[in-house]
Amino acid sequence: MTASLEKGIRVLKEVIDAPIASYFNSCVHCGLCAEACLFYTETGDPKYTPIHKLEPLRRVYEQEYTLLGRLKKMVGLSKPVTDDELDQWQELVYNSCTLCGRCSAVCPVGNDIVYMVRKFREGMSASGHAPAGIKGAVTRTVTIGSPMGVKLPAVQAQMKHVEEDYGIPIPLDAEGAEYMVMLSSMEIINFPEYLAAIAKIMHQAGKRWTLCSTAFEATNAGIQIGNSDLAKVIVSRIVEGAEKLKVKTVISPECGHAYTALRWEGANLIGRPFTFDVKHIIEVLGEFQAQGLLKTEGFETDRLTFHDPCQLARRGGVIQQQRNLMNQVAKNFVEMPDAGYMNWCCGGGGGASAIEEGEELRLEAFKKKKSQLDVVKPDRLVTACANCRIVLEEGLEHYQMEIPVVGLTELIAEHIPEKGA
């Protein structure tokens, strides 16, 4: 169906539920959410105050669902939401919001602002005001199955490459495997070493695992653009693949939104419980570590710090596992200020890194990460999200900070003895 203002307003009316109504009524205009948002702190521009980013949604709520608002609308005293206004708001709802959830974490009355932004994006998308970059990702997801247009032959090329590099077979469509490993397009295209690391770790742990030819892509562009129908289609592909192969656990890759989409929203999107567990790769590694299945040798001796992906740590509650893993292979692991639950976003989550016109603002916002890194002065930066990794690398390059970035899964795999692999 073609996007239009009428459709967008209708969707906005539909997405306003009891939590959103209570959130708008509860807001005490304290401004704490502004101080929690790196787009506000690094620019000082009040338009980036998270609750302000929801102003058109608030007006729809007021005009449609409050007595005073409806009276004002009847007598022509309220300002209708227009196409021009939503066009202006695109920057606030997409470019300058990574859905990192820091605003929700600090709100003194418990408003889940990021939940509201997600809902607002549904209306923005329906009205045709999503950014071209994310629209393109969505189109490719629908037509090809991957937001970056990655097809199975590309995955098979990576599998072959890893098999040559490490001499470990990569299983595809192995029915009855314990784990079904998902990849993000980013890992297929930019970081083939992630798949190699998984192969080494699973081999050493003695676990049966597999990739799925019909569901290798974990990234969910539907969540990013704000289109629940599309998000459901993407989750359904994974569910069908996992159930066909009868796996016990689906492993979300080092990709923040893939994890949120599948782990926390997936079952609600398809309307029934999964027949399998969903875990982030870091959770699985944490379990292997606790069970004594992760045997490493040697230590990194340079100064390492860890960037917590927002969807993993703040939205997903996975905080201690990555620290335990770091300590298994690093002698000199130091924490950045605000590490863990309140870590600052890299600036590129929630689809923001796919928006070309948002690049300048992203680099401005990266000053927050720069300031965190300046405090601890690490030799290397470790993270567990492929998107964070590229955004971090670009930011570090822009600010001429020579700090290599590595993925945690790869770092662990590098310490697995050759005989173990």
Binding site: G133, I134, G136, A137, R140, P147, M148, G149, V150, P153, A154, Q156, A157, K160, H161, E164, D165, G167, S184, S185, M186, I189, N190, P192, T219, A221, Q224, G348, G351, S353, A354, A386, N387, I390, E393, E394, E397, E402
Partner: protein, 148 residues
Amino acid sequence: MTISNDKEFKSALAGLSPSQQRQVAARFVQAVFPLSNDVRIKAALEAAGRAGISDAELAIVAQAANTARVESFTQCGREADWSAQVGHFVAKAAVACVKPAEGGGNLAWDAAMQARMARTCQTVADGVGTENREAETQYRILEAFLNS
């Protein structure tokens, strides 16, 4: 010496000194460099190919090669352009060539693998699948290096 598989290839590379590894790695990357033609990578390969390269010189070319690598990442959600991705893996291979000897591991093997990825991206971009002869090309390059 004849090399006919990756086991022999990796073993022979591991037996080289860091300087020799760098030189032969540069030759592996030279074989795929025409797919990129980035001047920063060219400089890195020229430096890596010199026997007496100093650490300071290496650091300069490594920084430039790394910039080429970072600039050629495909961003999350953007359409994968396999032709452009060739350049990324050529840059990644070049970075392996000029990384510091300390902690460099089997840098020639790393460079060879990234060069193979570059070739695979090129065949994908050309629509001719993923099969190519880059590994065999690298075996012949190493043989020539060892026999020289």
